[in-house]
Amino acid sequence: MIQEKIREKAKELLEKKVVDVIIGFGEGTLPLRATPLFVRSPDEADCLIWNSFCENNLSTYLHKLTQFKVGLVVKGCDSRSIIALSLEKRFKPDQLFLIGVPCQRMVDRRRVKKAVKGEILRAHEQGDQIIVEGEDFKTSLKKDDFLYPSCQLCIHRNPAQANILVGDPVEESPLLEIDPEVKDFESKSVEERWTFFEKESSRCIRCYACREACPMCYCAECFVDSSHPKWVEKGLSPSDLEFYHIVRAYHQTGRCSGCGACERACPMEIRLTYLTRKLNLDVKELYDFEAGCDGELPPPLSTFKTEDKQEFIK
C-alpha cells in the first residue's frame, strides 16, 4: 500500500539522516482535505497519509527550505515542477530526495460539495467511489466524475523524476481527450473571451493565494509588490486585477506543470487554469515542449534559437 511505503521510506530517510525533513501529507481537519505535513523525527512518520485528497503541490515549500535537505512526496505534476525549478537553478543537486507516487488523480472537493445538499461531515474513498456523509445523508459518488479538471486531463501521472517510486506506475491516458474549458474558450469571439476573463478576475480579492500556492512563483519581489517603479495599484479597479491575472498567467509560459494549485487555492473560485492550459498547449504546438518533462531541456522562452518559429511576429 502506497501510504505504508511512504511511511517506511520517510522513517528510513530520517533515521539515516539522509534528509532533515520530509514534506508529505497528513490528515486534514476538514472532510475531503489532506494537509501538508512536515515530519522531522522518525516516530512522526506514521502521521503521513496518502489518498485522493492530497491536492497541494508541495514543491512550493522548497523556496523557504533552501538550507535543508528535504524529502518530498511528489505526484506527477509536482515532480515536473521540481524539474522546471531545477532548470532555473533553484536547488543544489543533492538537496532533495523525491518520494514519487504514481498519482490516482485528485478529488475536487468543491465539485463534491456542490453535488450534495447539506454539509459534508465525513468522507472517505472506497475503490472508485467517494462516500460522503452528513447529518442526514450518506451518498456514494463516482470518483472520476469529481476530479479536478487538471487531473482529468493529466497525461503525466507518473513522476518524471524521483529517487524512489512507491506504488506501481500507472497507465498514462487522460480521462478527457479534449480540454472542454479551453476548447470552449477558443471557440469564443475576442469580445466574449474578454468578457469571460473580466468577469472571472472581477472576483479577485488580491489575497495572492494563487501566487503563493504556485511553485513557479518565487520572484524575490513580485511585480505587484514593487513600489519603485509602481507597475500596478493595490486596489480593486478592474484594470489592476486584470493586469495581475494576465501577467501571472503569462509568466508561467513554458514553466507551468498544470498542477492546478493556483485554482484550488483561490477562495473566490476564479477560473485560472484555462489560461495556463491554453498557454501550455501553445508552447507544445509551437516548440514541442512540455514543462518539467526533460531535466536537460531549458524552457523555450528562456532560450533563443535562430530557427525558432516567428510567424506570430507581424
Binding site: T29, L30, K64, Y208, A213, A265
Partner: protein, 339 residues
Amino acid sequence: MKLKLDKKDFQPFLQNLMDEYDLFAPIRLADGVFAYKKIDQPEEVDLSASNTQKPAKEVFFPQSETMFRYERAGKEARITSTEGVERKRVILGARPCDIQAVCLIDQVFSGKEYTDVYYANKRDATTVIGMACNHPLSTCFCTSMKGGPFAREGSDLFLIDLGEAYLVELLTEKGTAFSQNEFLKKAGPNDLNLAKEIEEKASKKTDASMPVEGIDKKLDQMVENPFWEKVQEKCLGCRVCTYLCPTCHCFDIVDEALTNKGQRVRNWDSCLSTLYSLETSGHNPRPTNRERSRQRIMHKFNYFPKNFDQIACVGCGRCILYCPAGFDIRQTIKEIQKG
C-alpha cells in the same frame, strides 16, 4: 416587537427598503461564491449561503476606499472629500458572527481614542438587519467566542427563517422605525414557537468547547517559543485568512497619482504579507513567516484583548474553510492552551 414577513412579500419589502435606503446584502458572484454588494435590483439578493466568503465588514470598511481626490489646475489645488454618506443605508442578511465582528472593530474605528470618519459615517448611517443561522457549519465555534447562531447583539432588526416566512424582531430604535412597515405583519404564537424550536436546535450545533479562557496570559509567555516555527510551517503566506476574517482590519494608505490629479486610497492590508512590515530602509522587523504568523495569532488573542478586553475572533470558521493549506486555527488555540 416581533413581526412576520411572508417570503412572497420579500422582494416588494426589499424594493420598499431601497426607496428609502441604499441596500447592502449578499449576492451570488459565482456558483458557491458570495459577497456583500450594494443592491441595484431586489432579485439580486441571495440569502441561500450559510455565510459569504468576504465578510460584512466590507460594507463599513471597504477593501479599497477613496479617502479624497485632488487636482491641480495652475496654482490652484482642489480637494474633493469622499467621506460623506449621502443616503441612509441598510445591511441585510448579515450573520451574527459578522455583526459581532463589526461591533469589535467599532472599538478601533470609532472607539474612545479615535474616530475614523470614513468608517463612523457609514456605521451611523446604517441600519443592521441581522439574520439567524439555522444551520451552523461544523467549523463554526461562535458559541465559544461569546456569540451564537442566534446572537442579536448589534442587530437593529433580526430575521429568523421559518421556511415560508421570516420572523422579524425589532430590537432597537432604528429597528422600531419599521414597526409600521406595510409588509410586516403580526406574528402568531405558532411562528414564535417555531422560531424558538429552530433557535434551540441551531444553538446546540456550534462548538462551545474552544478553550479560549486565559489565552492572552498564555501567549504573554510564548513570544519566543519554538511553537511558532511549527505554526508557520505549512502557511503559504497568502492573505486568505486575513482578508476573509471579519475582524481583521489592517489597512495601507497609498496615493494613486497622475501628473495633475490623483486620489488617496486605503486598501486592506495583511500582516501575513512580507511587505506589511517592510521599512523604507529595507529592514524588515518581521523577516520570516514565523514572525508574521505569530502576529496574526497574537493580535487576535493577545494584543486586542489587552486593548479592548475582548478576543478578536468570532468563530466564523472562514480561515479554516478557505485556507489553501488546511491550516486550522482551532488546533492552534488548543495547542497554545496545552502550553
